[in-house]
């Protein structure tokens, strides 16, 4: 990712450089100059001076219903746009409520700047009202953070914060600003010059000998496989990867966050790897002799048991963050650098290749272990989550910007909604934050108002942040919410079924009437109980002006297959146990034919 250091020009901003401004004004001066157009937040005592100054500036503030919503919205905004998301909250509980969203952004490397108010500097350390050491709290879950106690520090600190957030491996940065720093005044200064941080190294370039070693491994590999991770999207390397794949004919497996980074319908795309990845993908990984991992970090959900992971494969690890090299999986050839730059450097050195044997072998195991063909499923009158998601894929023609929550529906989405373009699937992969979807979707909608934004979430996760429906109503923005309502905390229930003797402890969940909840917000609610009703509901949601909530009442005890149990060998997957008609809980059988 190339860094531009030029301040985005905002014609609505008057040039006030050299004038004496309050710290509060300087906050907004700096944010506007950093390109912030929308800021998600919640006011309170220690941030009130900043809020008071906000009205003078061309920034749209979205009042959330909880600060967690604000941090997820900034996150969703960043994921959808590739720009830095921005949220703002007060001290103490306001700041601590941001924490879940900050950790979510940290684990998925999302560029985000969080502004928090802090008690006046002379009260710091006195356990003052609404005082929390939020910089201390967030050291482990931010890329960097700052405590600002003087107005003249505000502009340079915010500038640094944005630079750190978006450069290198992106991440959240928190800027905690004391109330007195907001209230005091100083001469406003702003420089567009290069930011000098002597200890910060965001821009590693690949080394020539590593490129050579990689080329040699690729040249001699018989059974190579490419892993496309989130880094492909972050580096905007989709095209570079496509060119590389066209030339080398190496099949591609995606991580959850990598979905969309390489087109799902591309003939060389195998699908998702890992715990709920496709069986043939995991088998191909276990049989491969070369893994070319691009912008991914070998998460435990991707590798299963490390001791038995891809035993015959050499690994080329292309990754921007040197600390990821050899963290989980030994890299035979580490290449530290930007995914796109590395792929482009490799390109001229790799040869055309047809790899007929290897591709035929993968086709064979794909045939054996089956593609889910849910097109031919018998309609038993019930509604199944996979049907709903597959239908959503069909009726939105795969073009929606989908934001998922965490759990079964998230895995079904990954399996059944095929994403051909980057930044069209937003999901909390690393932290697995329930409650992420609705607020993140609101953020995404602000970033991409022209997109059709769909939330896919469970009944559990939806209720964690459903208050943000009020935000949709107040802002008059439209997202479509598909609640995959199975009356359980589904993924936990599935684990209880598989690994805890079927004891459903604390997973059955009574939910309110979601249609009425929507209506109570002045929004539209639809209930769907049969597959035959899905299309009409989706079309109605797309045609309705405001936010629509669809309560899909799906089969309660369905499970996500296939599955690698946590810590098991990757190729060792639990398959869907029965054929259709023999067991009515398991209607989604697998045939040898994809559509």
């Amino acid at each position: 990712m190339k860094e531009t250091l030029v301040t985005p020009a905002n014609p609505k901003l008057k040039n006030r450089i050299g004038e004496t401004l309050s710290g509060s004004q300087i906050i907004w001066e700096a944010l506007v100059r950093e390109g912030v157009e929308v800021c998600f937040g919640y006011p309170g005592g220690a941030i009130m001076p900043a809020y008071d100054a906000m009205v003078e500036y061309p920034i749209h503030h979205v009042l959330t219903r909880h600060e967690q919503g604000a941090s997820h919205m900034a996150d969703g905004y960043a994921r959808a746009s590739g720009k830095v998301g921005c949220c703002i909250a007060t001290s103490g509980p306001g700041a601590t409520n941001l924490v879940t969203g900050i950790a979510t952004a940290m684990l998925d490397s999302i560029p985000m700047v969080c502004i928090t108010g802090q008690v006046p500097s002379h009260l710091i350390g006195s356990d003052a009202f609404q005082e929390t050491d939020i910089t201390g709290c967030t050291i482990p879950i931010t890329k960097h953070n700052y405590l600002v106690t003087r107005p003249e520090q505000i502009a340079p600190t915010i500038r640094e914060a944005f630079y750190i957030a978006r450069s290198g491996r992106p991440g959240p940065v928190l800027v905690d600003i004391t109330k007195d720093a907001q209230q005091q005044s100083c001469v406003f200064e702003w420089s567009d010059g290069e930011i000098v941080l002597p200890g910060y190294r965001p821009d590693y370039a690949p080394l020539a000998d590593q490129i050579e070693d990689a080329v040699e491994l690729i040249r001699t590999a018989k059974r190579p496989i490419i892993f496309a991770g989130h880094g492909v999207m972050k580096a905007e390397a989709t095209e570079a990867l496509e060119n590389f794949v066209e030339k080398t004919n190496i099949p591609v497996a995606c991580t959850l966050l990598g979905l969309g980074g390489f087109p799902a319908t591309h003939p060389r795309n195998l699908g998702m790897m890992g715990m709920h990845g496709e069986t043939w993908v995991n088998k191909a990984i276990q049989d491969a002799d070369l893994i070319i991992a691009v912008g991914m970090r070998f998460d435990d959900r991707v590798t299963g048991n490390l001791k038995t992971y891809a035993p015959t494969a050499k690994k080329i690890h292309i990754e921007l963050d040197p600390a990821e090299i050899n963290k989980n999986v030994h890299a035979d050839v580490p290449i530290v650098g930007d995914a796109r730059e590395v792929l482009e450097e490799l390109m001229p050195h790799v040869g055309d290749c047809d790899r007929a044997d290897w591709l035929a072998y993968i086709d064979e195991i794909k045939g054996d272990s089956a593609v889910r063909d849910i097109k031919n499923l018998p309609d038993l009158g019930k509604l199944y989550a996979a049907h709903v998601i597959h239908d959503l894929y069909r009726f939105t023609e795969g073009k929606a910007l989908v934001v998922t929550d965490v759990g079964q529906h998230q895995m079904w989405e990954a399996q059944y909604y095929k994403h051909d373009y980057p930044r069209k699937l937003l999901t909390s992969g690393g932290l697995g934050t329930m409650g992420f979807a609705l607020p993140a979707a609101i953020g995404a909608k602000f970033a991409e108002p022209g997109e059709s934004v769909w939330v896919i979430c469970g009944d559990g996760g939806f209720q964690m942040t459903q208050a943000e429906l009020s935000t949709c109503a107040q802002e008059g923005i439209k997202v479509n919410v598909a609640i995959i309502n199975n009356g359980f905390l589904g993924m936990v229930r599935q684990w209880q079924e598989f690994f805890y003797g079927g004891r459903y402890v604390a997973t059955p969940m009574l939910s309110p009437d979601f249609v009425k909840i929507a209506e109570a917000h002045g929004l539209t609610g639809i209930r769907v109980e049969k597959r035959s009703e899905v299309e009409a509901a989706v079309r109605k949601a797309e045609a309705t002006k405001g936010t629509v909530v669809i309560d899909f009442r799906v089969e309660q005890e369905d499970s996500v297959y296939p599955m690698v149990p946590a810590g098991a060998t990757l190729g060792d997957m639990i398959q869907r146990p029965s054929k259709p008609g023999t067991h009515e809980h398991n209607p989604i059988f697998e045939t040898g034919e994809d559509e």
Binding site: K143, H144, P198, G199, Y204, P322, A323, I325, V336
Partner: protein, 180 residues
């Protein structure tokens, strides 16, 4: 996988509030166990130097180094474990010492190149600097007299020779260059 050994890192950091907290937090968060950590000013304004001693094999050492480099306030990391270096701790040891034991204890101090720096009728306080093992040697010899109090610093370390550490270090994490 190489063996886990005591490793010594010289870590140059910006002298800013909270940097020690950040570094300590990193070690805790990543389950890197710190044996000792020493921090103090250097001759360069705005630069502090830490000496961190911890147990790690080769692979872990590289990850520690790479993770330290990820911190915005960390300027330069040098794993000096296998370099020619000078390692020192300082200890103050207060021992029981009756009048007729004085001569013996002072002789012991001479052997270890330690110094008696305070004395009262029944006790003596000894200052020693040296490698950790030397301090431990003195402590074991003094134990029979009865140690009343002991305080010691963590290790501070420096490579031998004329290598000069300047502020603009081009160095990058070792994991960038090679597989562990």
């Amino acid at each position: 996988m190489s063996e886990s050994v005591k490793r010594t890192f010289a870590v140059f950091v910006e002298d800013k509030p909270g940097v020690l907290n950040r570094v300590a937090s990193l070690f805790r968060r990543r389950s890197f166990n710190i044996d000792s950590l020493n921090v103090g000013a250097t001759h360069e304004a705005g630069v502090s130097r830490m000496t961190i001693v911890c147990d790690a094999d080769e692979n872990k050492a590289k990850r520690i180094e790479a993770n330290l480099y990820k911190m915005v306030n960390v300027l330069w990391v040098d794993d000096i474990t296998h370099k020619q270096s000078i390692n020192r701790v300082l200890a103050l040891i207060k021992v029981n010492c009756s009048r007729d034991q004085r001569a013996e204890i002072l002789r012991i101090c001479e052997v270890f190149r330690a110094r008696a720096i305070d004395m009262s009728p029944e006790r003596v306080t000894i200052e020693i600097t040296g490698p950790q093992e030397k301090v431990e040697g003195l402590v074991s010899v003094l134990k029979p007299f009865g140690i009343l109090e002991l305080v010691q610093t963590g290790t501070v370390a420096m490579t031998r020779g004329v290598e000069k550490h300047s502020r603009a270090h081009p160095t990058v994490p070792a994991s960038r260059h090679s597989a562990a």
